[in-house]
Structure formats: structure tokens, C-alpha cells
Symmetry: D4
Subunit: 256 residues, 8 copies
């Protein structure tokens, strides 16, 4: 992890056993990592608050357990594991007793008590807004991830565009947020409507909720990409986690 190779070259220069031209040449040929670029990876954890997250889909329960345990032991707790089945909780607890499972969000957190609130936790917040009850898992994935990242979260669920009064009734909550995560399936119209009402960035999350010509979320994805409201950007279908990380980056600078 230290830049030993570079250091040796430098010491040779200082000792006079290597001249400068030779040293330049040697430095050029070093593999990048030896120059210490592993710092990039470390830096990554520092800046996003997501040192390494476990995406469980396609992994066996014991694989998830082992990866979580390794990260936990490295001191990276709390460790987040997304798209986790309920049955994984018991298996992971074999390794890390202090693990909880968020049902609707399908998220495991090992070492939840180590969650530390950001300094401005009671200040700026991200609001997670969802259209229908079937969008709940994606909305909760976003909300739990935001909490894990130290952001204050407000939830406003089941405010689809076919019942506008519910949405309009919470206008104040929407307008005071630093960033919105707006989750919707079917025609995906909610980000357009919300985007026309508020003055903060809207991160739109299409979901695979729907049938027939919804084509697995394609309809809501296209709807959101073609929004007539400005101030809206889109993530992948069902990607509540990605939206949360993005929103946290928007929200985060306020407190640093």
C-alpha cells in the first residue's frame, strides 16, 4: 500500500547510485500502483461514504456472509448489502452478530450502531418521493441508503399523479428539500410534475412496476428522460441505491 518502489528509486538518487535521467526512466516504467495510486481507492471511500457496498444479487448466502465479514473486520463498518433476501440475515449474523435487515428496502446493515450522523443532520435533507405502493422497495432502498450515508431523509410516499391533491398537500416539504429522489413506475410522470413545482435537483428513478407495454420499466425510463421539466436527471430502472448516492453527493457539500 505504500509507495515502496518509488521510495527505493528516490533513495538511490539521494545516495548517488542512480542519476536523475535513469530515475525518470524508471519512474515511467513503474506500474501505476507502485506510485501509490491506490490512494484513489481510499479516496473513494472518504468522499462518498460508500467504502465498498455489497450487491447481493447473484451471490450465494455464504458468499455474502464472507464478504460482509471481511469488510467488517477491515473496520469498514457499517457495511451495507443491497438486494439481499430475508434469508441472508441469519447467515450473515453467523459472522457479524450485530446485523439488521430492512425488509422493504431489501438491505442488510452489519454494524448499524456505528452509523454516525452528519454534522448538519438536522439541516438540509433529501426527500424521497414515490408514486405507488408497488414502488416502495425502490424508494426504501434509496431512503435506507441515504440514512446509511448520514443524510437526513424525509419520505413522501404514494403521491402518484392520478391523485394530485396528495402531492400538492405536501408542497412545503418538497420545496424546502436540498434534493429530491422521485421514484415511479408505469408512465413515470411524477418527476415531471414535481420538477415543475420545486427549485432543487430531482433525481428520477424509474421502476419496473407495471405490465404489458411497460416493458420492464422502459416506459417510465423514457418518460423521465423526456421530461418537459428542467432540473431532472435519471438513473437506471429500480436503482434506488444509485439515486441515493447521487443525492447524497448533492446534499453533502452543504455541511463540509
Amino acid at each position: 500500500m505504500t509507495a515502496d518502489a518509488a521510495r527505493q528509486i528516490l533513495e538511490s538518487v539521494r545516495n548517488g547510485t542512480l542519476d536523475v535521467d535513469q530515475a525518470v526512466e524508471k519512474l515511467r516504467r513503474l506500474p501505476f500502483e507502485d506510485l501509490g495510486f491506490a490512494r484513489l481507492d481510499h479516496h473513494r471511500g472518504v468522499r462518498t461514504g460508500v467504502p465498498e457496498v455489497v450487491y447481493c444479487s447473484g451471490k450465494t448466502r455464504t458468499q455474502v456472509r464472507d464478504i460482509v465479514a471481511r469488510l467488517y473486520e477491515q473496520g469498514d463498518a457499517p457495511v451495507l448489502a443491497t438486494r439481499a433476501e430475508p434469508e441472508m440475515l441469519d447467515v450473515v449474523r453467523e459472522a457479524v452478530q450485530d446485523t439488521v435487515y430492512f425488509d422493504s428496502a431489501r438491505i442488510l446493515v452489519a454494524g448499524p450502531e456505528r452509523l454516525v450522523r452528519k454534522p448538519n443532520y438536522d439541516g438540509s435533507y433529501v426527500a424521497v418521493v414515490s408514486a405507488g405502493t408497488a414502488d416502495l422497495p425502490v424508494a426504501d432502498e434509496a431512503a435506507v441508503t441515504l440514512t446509511y450515508l448520514g443524510d437526513r431523509v424525509e419520505r413522501l410516499y404514494d403521491v402518484g399523479v392520478a391523485g394530485l391533491h396528495r402531492l400538492l398537500g405536501s408542497l412545503d416539504l418538497l420545496m424546502a428539500a436540498r434534493c429530491l429522489v422521485v421514484v415511479a413506475g408505469m408512465e413515470g410522470a411524477l418527476p415531471s410534475v414535481v420538477g415543475g413545482l420545486v427549485g432543487c435537483p430531482v433525481v428520477a428513478v424509474p421502476t419496473s412496476v407495471g405490465y404489458g407495454a411497460a416493458f420492464g420499466g422502459l416506459a417510465s425510463l423514457l418518460g423521465m428522460l423526456n421530461t418537459c421539466a428542467s432540473g431532472v436527471a435519471v438513473v437506471n430502472i429500480d436503482n434506488g441505491f444509485g439515486a441515493a448516492v447521487f443525492a447524497s453527493l448533492v446534499n453533502g457539500r452543504g455541511d463540509s
Copy 2:
């Protein structure tokens, strides 16, 4: 056009020169038209008020002129021609002097003075609602067609979902209509929002307005088909004419 063949068979039966079994056999073998089914075609004009409409796209100016002239001479005036270029007006007037052109709707009408209002013209109406200024040609195609069919029309334009207050400010107009034609491009969210506010059928018209992932109207089409509001049905992209005919059929029974 008359059922001469059938008549001859029947006369032979009456004269006794043909027995009943033979007559049944002969009747079965007659081409359909000879049995008078041309009534179907006639009936079509009677019921929809659209005896025959000229779709100009892909036709030359002289072809349009000749078809309009023939229909006009058959007494089918007023004759409607959709998707007409402005230059067609002068050419058609060579044949039918009494022709007007509706610019934004791209519609020619030959014999407009013969337009007769329906008995309930001041009663139930169809409202044509559109999202953006670029949707105007399609909305006007619907509105002019409805007028041509004898329906009362109210227009509510430029009320896209990114500026909800404009839409909500005309709620009364929307709620009192017998049927709505709602025209929108881009993400096509307007029918969903309108469908959640009103209690009449909403005929949604996606338009090809947009760029990039709008894919020529595919985004708004999918959005409308996946609407979370019930009471919404959809026609082809840019098909203002078809939406108007449909809406007129919904509106029409009220006065018959």
C-alpha cells in the same frame, strides 16, 4: 348497386321456374355485394358523419384535387382533407372554389358553408387539451375535425404538467366536458394528470414532439399506454384526426 341478382332469383321462385331448394343454393353463391351489402358502406357515412376523408400524405396535388372534386360532386360536401400542404389550397380551388385551409391543422375543407351544427351544439362538448406549443398542429387537427363532425369544441392549450397551475386554473372547463382529447409529446404525462382530475373519458394523443430518447413519439405513446389513471385510451402518434372521430362518437349519442 341494386340487388338485381337477388330479385331475379326471387322472381323465378314466384313464377315457379325455380324451386326453393335451388333458390337457397343460388343465393348462397351470389357475391356478397349483389345481396345489397353495399348498405354497409352507406351506413358508415350515416353513423359517423365521415362519409370519406382524404388523407393527403403521399398524394400529389392534382390527385388530391381530383378526389376532393369527385366527392364534392357526389354531394358529400363538406369534404375534409387532412395532412394537406398549404400549396394544395390553390390547386383544389381550381375544382371547388368554395374551399378553405386551416393552417395550423393542415386541413382543407371543400364546401365549408355546408357545415351543419348538431342539434345539441351548445350542449355537451369535447375539450381539446394540449401540453406544449409544438403540439398545436395535432391539437388543431383534432379540433377542426370535431367542428367538421358537428361537435362543440373547447380548446385548452399549453397546459403541460411542468406548470400545473395553468391546468388547475381551468379545472371547471375540464370537468364539465363530455369527453377530452389530450395531446402531448415528450414524456406524455398530461393524460395521466388530467385523467386523475376528471370523470369523463380521456382520449390521449401522443405526438412526435421531442428529440433523442423521444424516439419519434414512442416515449409519449408508452407513457400514455401505461397511465396510472383509469379512463384513458390512446390513439396512434400524431393522430389528431382519429382522436376526434372517436371523441365525436362518444359525444354523439347524447343528442340522438
Copy 3:
């Protein structure tokens, strides 16, 4: 639910403790709901006869039971639940004994005896027409929903375009309807043929019946959207429920 906030402002005006300008300003800032816009939601039930319908897909049996029970207790009976599996019947009956299941339509109705016929039940009707036996579940979803909404329904099944004589043999039934719901999979040609024969609005429902290049209903959906018959509008693939609500809105004004 009451407009308490608005009332307090008004009382302050009457008491002279608030002047008119201040009151206007305060009213503007109130959340919408406090101004009583919940009436919109109530209004919704009144106008469509669909106070709230349970879409079972993706819900557990106990979730369905609990939602149905809550709606039933609110007096919203009969309660309709679509896309219900047969096994849900027994579970829902734990909460509402008076529940029936419509097999082919995959619909549960809690409190069916409270179904009240519309005044004109024996008058205008909606005909549900389907192409093949595999389209039955979607056609029945439409038919049962229409009955639930108080509409008179006539069914004409298995009249696909490859056997025209069956369709033509029931022409009178088709031509006398106020509205048609036409259900077809595969190439989805039936609405075009029917639309050319009748003078009422045709609500076309593509189904996912087919294989290979049917692409889950895409072929029939595109076929219906591109119909050469005017007077046809389309709903989502397999959306018998939505077609029924739309048709009921068309049919309903006749009797009010």
C-alpha cells in the same frame, strides 16, 4: 380532513384580528389539502363508481385481505380486487365472509350483494368481443368489471378474423351497442374489422396471447394503434380492467 386552517384564518378576519391582505397572503401559503382539496379524491369515487380498486399483482395474500377489509369497513363495498389468484379467496373470506371469486376473470368481489344496477341497466349496453379462447381472462376481466360498475354487458367471444362468418353472424348485437370492448392477441386485427362495421366507439385491448414475434403483446398493440378503421382507441396490453372503466364512462352519461 376538514379545512380547519382555512376556517381559522376566516374567523380571524371576521374577528378583525387579521386584515384582508394578510389573510390572502396566508391562504396562498397553506398546503393544498388544508383548503379541502381532498374533495377531489371523494369526487373521484362518485364519478367513476370505482372508489378504490385493489390490484393484487405483487401483493401477498394477507396484504390483499387487509386492504380489502379496510375498504369494506369504510363502506366502499362492493370492493373489487383484480389479478387475484384463486388461493386468495379463502384468505379474504377470513375478513369478509361475503366474498366471491370470478375464476376466468381472476377477480375477487367482497360484498357482491351490494351491487346495484344502474337505472338504465336494460337500456344501453357495452359488448365485450374477443378473438380467441386464450383471450378469455382479459375479456372476462372487462366483463366482470363492467357488471361491477353497473353497466349492462353482452359478451361475444371467439369471433376471430380467421373465421369471419361467426363475427358477421352477430352483426346486430355489435351495431346496437353503445360501446365495444374488443379483445385480441396475436396480430390484433379484430378491432380493425369490427371498427369498420359499427358506428360506436371501439376500445381495443391487445393481449399477450401469442408466441415468437408476438413479443408479449407488442404485435397486437402495434396492430391496434395503426388500425385503418377510425373510431378505435387502445389501452395497455391485457388491461381488461382499464378498458371496462373507459367503456363505462362512455356508456354512463346516457342514463344520468
Copy 4:
């Protein structure tokens, strides 16, 4: 063109200057063509009556002229050139005076007087059926090609499914054909309806006629592939020529 190489080997065997094993080995190593497989190409012209057809799309006028002239001089007249612009006629006539142009079919024929009718020309025929007037170019491409191939052709145009009586009025013509070429754009429903009425093979040709969700002929192509009628097969969008060649092969064997 002759199998000279093979002949030389054989003569060496006869002369005793090459033994059999060596000859077998030599034969194996010969390029295919030297063994006389060019007969395949010749055979092709004999069997289909289409020795070589010029597809003009993307070729310049002089290129078309030169290719037509070369084929004409080889004695392959009449020479057919499809997708030809009207302006090509004069240019081709510079080389082959005896050339005609079929306007609606966009086909040039050099040496038309050499067209020879098949022995059974007045016997079995192919009927070309089309849905709308905009499908005319494709239908005529098929009809002119069939005539060129020596087949008897009957045309039945403008019999789209939205006006069934016209189709049913010509049932006898349809039922007596050896093969049908059925041309339709938009929803492409005509082959399904026709296929359910007749007992001969139906070659379906989707056209690019339509707009919006027709997606350049995709809608009619999918419709025809998913037909509920058996006895229907499909060619590429707008491929009137290919349908004609196929139909001629069906029709041709009867008389040979």
C-alpha cells in the same frame, strides 16, 4: 465455362499417364468451378425464369443502363429492373430502344416484346390483393413481376378490412386462385382475413405505409407474422418483387 480441367485429368487417366489414385487426389484439389458447378448458376435462370434482375436502388442511371445493356446483349431479354426512377427510362433507351416503364410499379423492362406467356396462361392464376391506395406501388411491383415471369395475374385492389363488403364481394375471385399475394400497410390485417376465407397459400407483403407507431412497416410485419390464419407466409417490408417470385414458384409447377 466448360470443365476443361476435369477433362484433362480424365484424358490422362485414359492415356495411362495418370493412375486412378493420383486422379482422385487431383480432382479433390480442383477449385469447385472447374468441376463445372457453374451449372448451378445456369440452372438458376432456367428454374425461376429470373436469370438476373437489376435492383436499381443506389445505382446511378448510367450504371443501370450499362448493366441492362449487357444482360440484353447476352440474350437474357426481357430484362427486368426494379425500384427504377422514371428518369431512368430515357437513359436506358440509349442502349436498348425497346424499353418500357411501368409507372406505379417503378419497373423498367428492356425487350418487353419477347415476353412469352406460359402454356397455362389462361389456367391457374395468382391474385394480387391490396388494402389501400397507398399500397399500390408494392402491389404493382408484384403484379408486373408476375406478368414478366409468365404468370396470369388478377388484381383486386383497395379491399382493406375496414370495408369488408368490398372484399367479400370478390370472394369467388379469391377462392379460385392458385396463390394469393396480399399487400397491406398500417396494421396489416388483410392477410389474416383473407387467409381465413381461402384454401390456397397466401404470400403476405407488409408495406411501409403508415405513420407514428407503424414504425416504417414494423407494425404490419409483426401483424402478418402473428396471423391467426394458417396458410400465410411473409416476405420483407415493401418486397413486392420477392412475393411475386415466390408466388410464381407456387403457381409454376402445376403446368410444367
Copy 5:
């Protein structure tokens, strides 16, 4: 089923109790079926040899059993049922003991001993050609159906284009056929290669064999539609049955 209504009208004319004009009017108003058009349906069975075929996909075993039994009792044997699971055999035998199952073709035939060969059975034949072993079920569906329809069938399997010598080694068999059914998945190139070698119509059947960018048969479907060989037409993905019916219609006229 008889044209009773028409007969009564005719008898009244003969009796003088109805004059000719009134009779014409009455005939026009009769439902189509009463005029005896049920003959169309009967005619269908006569012409294609496929009175009614059972498509098992999506039907329960007892439904299949009951439908097969009903058709068998009507004297329509042998009865063909396609896309049948092996387990259906025992269930169908409860109703019709004399039933066999063709494993690879997934076809049930009730009453196979009643299969009657066409007069020219030893004459013209249809060759079924397939590319890979995974295409076998579709090829066999075609071959068994052709046998059922009375056609002579020759099979040439596993001759994909990546091993041309196998195909070229059977050129004689291909060139002497009246019609070819060519079955291929993946890139679907076989019909193009075969179509360039033979002089009879080629019915191409794309299969869903493949993975990744095969997109469930889309790749082979598009390949076949865009074939550079003339004389090729295409049916739906995996539609061995439809190809067989079409090929039988091509082959059939030779012997009638």
C-alpha cells in the same frame, strides 16, 4: 346450420304471401349466418385438411382431453394437438384410447390409424431441412404435421451453414422437392443458402434457438426476412405447424 330463415322467405314468395321487393328487403336484414355462410367454415376443413387443430399451450390437460374427445366424436379424426406435454398422453387416452404421442414434435394424434395417404403420396414431396440439433422440435412439428395432412415428407437434419459439405451432399434431394420447409435458429442463414441452390418455394422457419443477441429468435427472423435469395417466405418464430400447413397447400394442388 341450415338456411331456414332464407327458405321461409322464399316459400312466402312462392306462396304469394310476400312480394319480391319485400323479400329483397328481408334478405338484406338477415344475420349473415342465416344465409348459410356457415358453409365457409365447412369449406375450410375440406380445403386444408385441418378441420380444427388443438393448440395445447396454456390449456390444462383435462381441457385438452375434452376438446380432443369432442372433435373425435364429431368424426374429425385424426385429431391433431400441437405443443402438447408428454403427460397429456395418458389423460387424452382416458377419452380416446387410440392416441399416440410424437415426442420430439410435441404432437398428440388421436385416431392415427385413420390417416389416409394422398393419392400422389409417392409423388411430389416436401423436404423439411434443419440447421442444428436444437431445431429438432420445430422441424419435427413441421414433419409430423405434413404427414398428418397426407403429404410425403423427406427430412434432412443438421445441415447448418457452418458445415456446407453436408448440405451440398444432399443437393439432389433438395432440388427434386416440390417445396422446402427450412428451419434454423441463431443467425438463420440456412434458407438463404438453400434458396440459392433450389428452384422450388422455400418456407423459412426461424427458431428461438440461441442466446444473448439472438433475442428469442429475433435475429434469425430478421435474417430470413432480409434474405438475398428470392423464392423465400417466412413464418413466425418456432411455427413449424404453420410452415407445414403452408407447404401442404403448395404441394397439394399437384394431386387434385
Copy 6:
């Protein structure tokens, strides 16, 4: 524009001519706009700095001129017009002399001298990063829009992933930005690579640059939506303007 209706009701309450219950009822029935919700629209301009932007695509030069002039006269200068052809400059100058045209960005600005820098202009900035020279118009549309919105902009162009060293050479500029707008066509890989290097939100803009399987920007759009880097969100193809508005909202809160 004033809330006159509400005021009248309130005055009646104060006067005692209307009691509170009646007033509540009346308020509920008022059209939304009368309650002053026009403030929403006003608010929109205030919050985003984009009072109303002219999208020129599909508008005539005189239409653009008139709209720009009207907005300019309302005091909304500077007025931004996107997707403007160069020829529009002279026409718009007829109405507003003080207009400039940004060539590569295809943007007109009327009243550019009124541009006011944000208080923190020399502080946090948005970096606009682009992959290839063909992406320049979209990147410049973003950069000019950001300048118009008062944001400090840094540009880093032509740093596509096929020449990583150029990108890595400017790492410091990337890592110090508050937000990145990353523009790329073809495979759209740049946002993934950048997103893995930096700790701020990345707004990805796919462009229609490319050919063949780029499908008009679909390839880069899908690439960006499926990015393996977290912290990336996507706008519509070629939507440099939308990305800029979004990035400005992210950047803007820092200084308020």
C-alpha cells in the same frame, strides 16, 4: 393575476355578509388560479434563473424573433434561445439589437450585457467534460447555459476514454469541481471512468454522435444508465441545456 376573488370572499366575511362555513365552501370552489397560485410560475423563475427559455427547433425565424422580443420587453433579459440556426441572429436583431450568437452552442442571447455573475462566481464551479470533437455542440450548449445561469464553468474537451492520459492529466480540475457535466457519444463510457475518479455528482449527457449500432444515441444512453460508477445520473440524448440547468441547481445552493 391578483387574488381578487379570494379577497372579495374575505371582505364579505369581515363585513359579516358571509359566515365562515359559507366562505370555506366558496373558497374550495374557486378556480386554483384565483387563489393566487400564479405565484408558482413566478417562483419558478426566481429559483432556477431560467424565467423562460426559447426552444427554437421547429419554430420559424419570425416566431423566434417575436417570442424573444416579448420576453425582452417584459424585463426577462437576458433571454436565452437554444437550438437556434445562425440565420436567426439577423432576424432577432431586428427586434433586439443587443443580441449575440454562440456558434458552436447554437444559442442566441438577447441582452447579454445584463448577465450578472453569482456572488460565488470565483468559488465553486461546474466542469463540462467532453469525449470527442463531434460532441462539441452539446458540450458548448451546456457551458453557455451555465454561464447564462451565473455559474462559473471550466471546460475540459476531447478527453475520450481511448486516450486516458489526457483525462488523467487533468485530474485536479475534475476533483475540485462542485459538479461535472460529462458529454459523450458512441459507447458513452466517459461518465463511468470519470465517476470512478471524482467525488462530486456527475451529470451524464449522451449524444447522437456515432453511426450504425449507435442508433441515434441509444448506445451511449444505455451505457450511461448502466454505469458501474455510483454518483452518475443521466439526461436525454443531446440535452446539454437540461444538464446545465441541473448542474446549476447542484452548484447554486452553495452560495445562497
Copy 7:
């Protein structure tokens, strides 16, 4: 398998019982195989080292066992079987005891001890590079196949573009390879980045790893086809086997 038919003809020529012209004619009519073209098939095995590979997908365990056994007995060992389930190992061992299973690659090899290294095994190598852990099965399918084909393989896994330092840290390994197989799902950006760094051919393998708008690998496939790096070609989604065969052909000429 021998060219007996050709030999007989030649012997007749030598004997004088057949003259040369007749012999030429007879040779032309021989089926291709009789002329010994089976050598093509044999040649295939020689040149690629893949005499025949078993693709297990869709085959039963006993089918796989029997095919492997037959090939093994023909002396074609080692026999490779791809896409094999773990359960197949025991079944295949019934026939060929000496069989091993490569778990992550899902590959069975019967007769592994017969694997012979190429002469230059320690010379030029193919590097298999993969983006994420979920791409492992495809990468291992490629690596095991390369080993089976006698190529030296170096693996570089988990070097996705979101963590560039890992990739850059192994630059020397990449730059010294004769050919690269680069495996990636999601946005598929890795081949573009690698292609810009190295000077050897890059065979890109998109995988179906991802969700939502990954559309089963379509996103990575399109990304790779539109790469801005030259020197990249693409195989089907998840086709590790095909990429390995291709890379082996590139690598192989070096040692022959």
C-alpha cells in the same frame, strides 16, 4: 468416406468402358460428398483444435453423457462440454471416468490428461480481462477454453473502469499479450479503455450482467460495438467460448 464413386468412374475411363465426355457428365452429378469433400470437416478439426464441442444448454444429462462418450471413443479426447450444470459431472463419469468439472466456467472436460501444450506455450499468450466479479463465469469459460486449445492464458479479473488504478497497475501484462479477451457487463466500457492502452487485437465479450436498462446485455453489446478505440471486435453476449476460439486463432499462427 473414401471417394469410391469418383474412383469407379475413373477406373471405367481407364478401362475404356466410359469415354471422357460421359465421365465429365457423371462427375458433375455426383453428390459433393462422394468427391471427398468430407475432408472439409476433417480439416476443421485440424485447424482449430476444436474437433467438436458439446453445447450442453437444452440437452439432458444422459444426452450429454452419450455424446461425450461417443466423441471420446472416436479418439477426439479431450472432449469439451460448455454450459454444463455441476450435476452432469457424475453422469458423464459413468461413461468416461477421467472427467473433470470447472465450476466457475461451467465446463466439463473428458480426458483432461491428454491436454497437450502448444510448442510455444511459454511464449505468446492471451490475457483474459474482466470487469466485475459477476462476469467471472464468462471470463472463466474463455480462459478454460483457451487452455484446452493449448494457448497460454493470463487472467486479470475485477479491473472495471470505475477503479482505473487497478487496470493501470497491470498495464505491462496487457501490453505484452498477443491478444486480449475483455469481458464486461453493465455499460461495457472496459474494452474501450483497454483498447486505447494496448497494441494487440481486443476481443470484446459483453455479458448479461446488470439489470433494468441493461436489457439482458444489450447495453454492453451496443457499447462495445460503438467503441471509440480501434482494434476491438465483438462476439455475442456471454459468449466466452467463441471469444476464446477467436483469440486462439489470432495467437496460433505465431507458433506454427
Copy 8:
């Protein structure tokens, strides 16, 4: 271009004015380029022989002229410019007199006389194979590029799969090549057929030749990706240039 910054750090270390730890830290913070990674770019030209190629599509004639001139002056001649219109020749010659234009390939080369053949020019070669005459521009783009890169090229054109004898007649040419570039539109079957005949890598190039369901080259692209022949990899639609660069990399190592 030199690593001056690194050198200064090293000299300070040697001088003792900077200790090793500080030096390591400073080195880490240097922009990448200062560490000399510009060598990557230089290396790129060395290894592929394509220092920088001008892609003319979307550039004006003067832009092309100026870029070509700059590269020429840098000594990078010959300079290749692809997708060039004929009219560009005269304009480029204003700057570089010694420029030629390859018509069918749409390629400009400035400084063609500087083309230097590879040492093994008369040894291993790449064969460019194309299916139809319309594929010529793409095939020639590949062939001219290969010549420019110093590779020996053999052309085999117009050997589409519908006329197999032409392809088989040139089998020796195909089998002796080091690499094949196979170009085809429509169904794109040629690479599959060729891939089954030869033992070298096949680089497949789909073209946009075709109409209707060719969907701009999608059909041939999918066909080639799903090839049943192993040893085939695919580049983007119409990308003759990319295929040539790839093939040159395959061919090139043999002689170095």
C-alpha cells in the same frame, strides 16, 4: 513533453533539499502527464501504424483541410481521412498537393507516396470478402485502409451466399489468408458460411445495405453476432475502417 516536473523533484532529492518522504508525496500529486505518460499516446502511433486518422463525417471541407495539413506537417504522412466526399479532394490539395482520393472507399490519402510496405508484404495477407455490389464502399474502405497500414490485401467481391459456387470457387484464396474481413448487408449470412470453411479469424462487418426489416443494418449485425461458426467477431455496421485496423493487428505480429 518531457517529464520536467519529475526531474526537478529528483534533482532536489539528489541535492538533499528534499527528503524522500516529501518527494514521494510530491510525486503522487503531480498531474499524470508530468510523469511522462504522454508516452502512451506516442506508443499508440508506433504500435498500430495509425498515428491519427481523420473521420470526415460532420466536418466541413476547410476543417478537414486544416487537420490534414497539420498532421502532414507534423510528419505523420501519409495521412488518412475516411468518409470523405469527392469534393474534399480539391480543397485538401490546396494544403497538400500530393493527395489522392479513393472513390469507392471514400478515402483521402495525403502523401501517398510515403506509403511503405511491411517487410512481409508478399507473405501473409488479409482477404477482404464481400457479398453484394452494394457492399463495395465498405469493403473498399477496409481494403484501402489495410494497404495504408502496410498489409498485403486480396479482394474477393460479390460472392454472396445465394450463389455459393462463386464462393467455393475461390476456396484456396480464402484458406491461405492470415485473416479475413467479410462484409455483408441484408441477412449477413456470409461470415457464417465462410467461417465454416476456413481456419483463420474472420472479422465480420455488417452493412446498412437493405431495406424494410433490415432496419439500417440491424438484421445483418444480429446475424453475424449469432453466427453458428466459431472464429468470427464483429465490428459496428459499415465500419470497414475498424475491421481493417483489427485485421492488421492480427496480421502484423507475424512479421515483427
